[in-house]
Symmetry: C2
Subunit: 496 residues, 2 copies
C-alpha cells in the first residue's frame, strides 16, 4: 500500500517535532549550564535547527498533502485524532506560509532593533525614543494579521497565535466587566492582608533545604521526577523536551523560601500539563497543549488555588518546619496570610494575585486599540497612565514604571498578555467545577492527596491536547466558556 | 562572483558541524541530566540528527565539489588550511560513501546483536557463546577494510579510522620491543610501590570539597571555565560541544579523592586540547583533533606526568590539606607514592600505569592477527591467555577475566586499542621534548606555573589541528615519529 497523505504528514511533522524538541534541549541548556563563551556557537546551532524545521514544515508538497488528507480522511467528529492533527498541521502550515518573505524579513529586522531601543528607552524612561519603533511594530503586526486573515476584527488574528479560537470581542467584554469589580476589592484586600506581615517569615533558608522541600511538594502534587527535573535559572520556566522529559527551573532567595517554592508550584503546574499530554501523540497537535491561556490555568491553579491556601499549609507546615526550624510556632493561617500579600504597585511582574489582572486588562485594551487603529502609538503613555489611575488608583510616575516596563511589544508580542488573565479565569472556573465533579475533593486536598484533582485535570484538560480549541475545551470541562465570576468569587473568598 | 567549490564545501561541512555538535549536546545531556524516562525520545532525536548529518555530508554533489576544489585550490603546502580541509573532507566523504549500503546495514545489525551476546557471554564467562559473533564481526571488519582500501596490510585501513597516517607494521615493531621491557619492570616496580600503601590516604572526602579542589587544580593547569564545565557521570568523559564549550565529567568516591581528581586531570587534558584548537576553524579538519593517539597523549600527560609527580604534590599538598585536613602530616613523597600503585591484575580498566600498556599490546597483537587472517577467532582465548602469561606473568582464570572483559570488539571497534598506548608513548616523548624546548620548565612546574608547558603544547600540538597526520605532527614537535624509549625512561624514573 502506498503511503497516504496523512501518513506523509504524520512522518514529516514527527521529524519536525524531533528537531524542534532538539532546539528545546539546546535552549534549556543555554539557560541552565552553557558556559558563557559558548553562546555564539549555540546561536548558530539554533539558527540552523530553526532553518531546518522551517524548511521541513513549509515545503510546498505539504499543501498538497493537506488538501488530499482533508479530502480522504474521514473521522467520526472533529475531535478525532486524525482530524485534530490535520487541522493543527494546516494551521501551522498556513501561519508559516501565508506571510510574504519580505514581511518576515522586515519583522525580524524591526523586532531585533526595537529590542535594543526599548532597553535604552526604559533606562532613560523616555517613551519618545521608543515611539517610532512601536509605530513600525504596530504597522507590521497589522500587516501580519491581514496576511493571516481575520473575520470580526484584526486583533483576533494576533490573539489566535497564542489562544486559538478566542475572539477578542468576547474577551474584551469579559475583561471590561472584570476590571471595576477587581478594582473595588483592592483597598479592602490590602487592608486585610496587612494583618499578617511578611516579616513573620524572616529567617535564613538554605538553598539545599529549599530544594529538598520543593522537590517533596512537587512530587506530592504529582510531578513525575522519572520523567522530569528541576534546575536553577534567573528566570524560571518549564519546557517539554520530549514525551517523558519535562524540565522546570526556579530561582532561590536564602531570605525568602516562598520565591522558589511558588516558582516551583507554578512551573510544576505547567509541567503536570506537559506530563499529562498523550505521550504517544507528543509533538502532534493531538498531543500538544491547547493554548497559552489553558497552560497558564494549570500553573496558576497549583500556585494560587492549591499552594497558597490554608489547607495546603495545614498539611505542609509541619514538614516546612522540619526543613526550616525557625518557622516553628507559626499557624497555617499565619503562614498563608504572610505569603498572600496584597499591595497595588506599578510593576506587573511584582504584582500580587488581586491586582495582577488589572495590569493585564490595561495592556490588553491598549494593544487591541493600537491594532484596531483606535489608538495612535503616540497616545500610549497617556492612555496607560489614565487607565492605571482608574484601575489601580495610582499615578504612574514615569514611563519606566508605566508603558515601557514590559519587553513584550518590542518583541512584537501583541495578543500575548491576555492569556495571563485567561489563565487565571480558567483556573478558578476549573477549580469551581472540580469541586462539583470530584467527590470529596476538599477533604482529599486537606489531607494532601492531590491525585483526585490531578486525575480530573488529566481527563478534562491534559489528555485532549488540541482536540478542541480553548473556549470549547472549557465548555466541555465546565459547561461554559471562560467567565469572570469564578475568579471573582475566588478572590473574594481568599482575600476579603 | 559565483560561489567556489571550496566555499560550497566549507558551508556544507560547517552546517554538518553545527548539527553534529548539536548531537553532542544531546549526548552530553543524556549522560548527565536526562530523566530516565526520556531515553526513548532522545534516541529518536539522535537518530534524526544523525540521518540529517549523514545526508548533508554524503550528498553526491560533494564528490564533484571535492574534485573541483582539488583541481582549483592551490596552497603553498599541504599543511595550509584549505589543503588540510579539502583532504579532511575528502577523507570523511570517502569513508562514508565507499561502504556499500548492504555492508552498513549488516554492520549495524551485527554489532547491535553482538553487544547483547557479549554481555551475556561475559556474565557466563563463556567465550563459545560470543565466538560466532566475533567471527561475523571480523569478517565484516575485513570487508570494511577492503571497501575503504589499503596498501601494506588490511589492518591499516581499520587503524586509520582512529589514527590517520599510522602504519600497523611500524606500530607492531614498536609495541613488540616495548612489551618485554615493560614486563621486566613489573616485579621491581611492584615491590617499590608497596613502600607507600594506599591506606596512608584512608579517610572521608566530602564530594563538595573534592569538587572545589578539582576545580582549583583544573583551572591552575589552564582549563578555561568560561568556556567549559565539570559535571558528574558514571563513566567520565570529555566532549567538545562547540568552539568555546568543552565539558568534562568525573565521578566521586567519598573514600578516595584520587578517583575524581585524576579523572578530572585526565579529562581536563583532553579538554585543554579541545580548548586549544583554533576556534575560528572549529568543526573544520584544520580545527579538529589530529588523532585519538594524540588526544590520549594530552590526557595522560596531565594525569601521569604532571599530576602524579612529587613536584605536583609539593605544590598541591598544602592546598589538599585545606580541603581534607586529615591529610596533614603526609609528605609529598608519601602522597605521590600512595597514589602511584603498581600491581599486575587481569582487568585493563583497573590496571596501573606500568602494566596498562601490556594489556594494550596484547589486544593489538590479537586483533591485528584476526584481521590479517593469522588467527582464527576460535583461537582467541588461548592466544590471550598465553600472551597474558608471557607479558604479565599471571594465569588468566576465566574468559571474563580474559578475552571477554572489553566491550570494544562487540561494537566492531578494531584498531582502537592501539591508540591508548600510542597516547602514553606520545605523552612521554612530548614531555621529554618540552624539557628541552621550554626554558626552565621543571622549575616552573615545581612552582605550579603550568602556562609555559601549556603554551608549548598549544603551539606544537593543539593549534595545528589536522594540518599533519599524527606521525608527522610528532615529527614536527619532537623530531621523530612515536618511539617507545621516552615512555620506558619515564616509567623507570618514576617507578624504579
Amino acid at each position: 500500500m502506498s503511503e497516504s497523505a496523512y501518513q506523509k504528514l504524520h512522518a514529516r511533522f514527527r521529524e519536525a517535532a524531533l528537531f524542534r524538541s532538539t532546539a528545546g534541549v539546546l535552549g534549556w541548556d543555554q539557560e541552565t549550564f552553557l558556559p558563557p563563551a559558548g553562546v555564539a556557537w549555540r546561536a548558530e546551532q539554533l539558527a540552523s535547527l530553526s532553518g531546518h524545521c522551517h524548511r521541513l514544515t513549509t515545503a510546498p508538497e505539504i499543501g498538497g498533502w493537506l488538501d488530499e488528507a482533508a479530502a480522504t480522511v474521514t473521522t467520526p467528529d472533529s475531535s478525532h485524532t486524525a482530524a485534530t492533527n490535520i487541522r493543527g498541521w494546516k494551521r501551522a502550515y498556513d501561519k508559516a506560509t501565508k506571510l510574504p518573505v519580505s514581511l518576515v524579513e522586515e519583522w525580524s529586522r524591526t523586532t531585533s532593533i526595537a529590542q535594543n531601543v526599548w532597553a535604552e528607552a526604559r533606562k532613560k524612561s523616555d517613551f519618545i525614543v521608543f515611539q517610532p519603533h512601536l509605530e513600525k511594530l504596530v504597522s507590521l503586526a497589522r500587516q501580519k494579521a491581514d496576511a493571516w486573515g481575520w473575520q470580526a476584527c484584526r486583533y483576533d488574528a494576533l490573539l489566535d497565535e497564542y489562544e486559538p479560537g478566542a475572539r477578542s470581542a468576547e474577551v474584551a467584554t469579559t475583561f471590561a466587566a472584570l476590571g471595576p469589580q477587581i478594582s473595588a476589592m483592592v483597598q479592602p484586600a490590602t487592608e486585610k492582608a496587612a494583618r499578617f506581615p511578611k516579616s513573620l517569615l524572616a529567617g535564613h533558608y538554605p538553598i539545599a533545604a529549599q530544594q529538598a522541600f520543593n522537590r517533596e511538594v512537587a512530587a506530592a502534587i504529582g510531578f513525575d521526577f522519572s520523567a522530569g527535573r528541576i534546575d536553577t535559572t534567573t528566570h524560571p520556566f518549564c519546557t517539554g523536551l520530549g514525551p517523558l522529559d519535562t524540565r522546570l527551573t526556579t530561582r532561590y532567595d536564602e531570605d525568602d523560601f516562598s520565591s522558589s517554592l511558588y516558582g516551583v508550584l507554578h512551573e510544576a503546574g505547567h509541567g503536570l500539563y506537559d506530563q499529562g499530554l498523550n505521550h504517544q501523540e507528543w509533538g502532534q497537535p493531538a498531543g500538544e497543549a491547547c493554548s497559552l491561556g489553558i497552560h497558564e490555568s494549570q500553573s496558576r491553579l497549583w500556585e494560587n488555588h492549591i499552594g497558597s491556601s490554608t489547607e495546603f499549609w495545614t498539611r505542609w507546615l509541619p514538614r516546612a518546619i522540619d526543613y526550616f526550624p525557625h518557622l516553628a510556632g507559626l499557624t497555617p493561617e499565619q503562614m498563608t496570610g504572610a505569603i498572600s500579600r496584597v499591595q497595588p504597585s506599578f510593576i506587573r511582574v511584582e504584582a500580587d494575585e488581586v491586582t495582577y489582572d488589572l495590569h493585564i486588562i490595561l495592556r490588553f485594551e491598549i494593544e487591541r486599540a493600537l491594532i484596531e487603529g483606535d489608538l495612535d502609538p503616540a497616545g500610549v503613555p497617556d492612555a496607560w497612565n489614565e487607565k492605571f489611575k482608574t484601575l489601580l488608583g495610582l499615578t504612574v510616575p514615569d514611563d519606566a514604571h508605566g508603558c515601557l516596563q514590559d519587553v513584550h511589544w518590542s518583541f512584537g508580542l501583541f495578543g500575548y498578555f491576555a492569556t495571563y488573565t485567561l489563565g487565571n479565569l480558567n483556573a478558578a472556573q476549573l477549580m469551581h467545577q472540580a469541586r462539583q465533579s470530584v467527590t470529596g475533593l476538599d477533604s482529599s486536598l486537606a489531607s494532601g492527596d492531590y491525585a483526585p484533582l490531578l486525575h480530573w485535570l488529566r481527563a478534562e484538560i491534559h489528555a485532549p491536547g488540541q482536540r478542541w480549541d480553548a473556549p470549547e475545551l472549557m465548555r466541555q470541562a465546565t459547561g461554559e466558556t471562560t467567565q469572570g465570576q469564578y475568579f471573582l468569587e475566588h478572590l473574594r473568598g481568599k482575600f476579603l
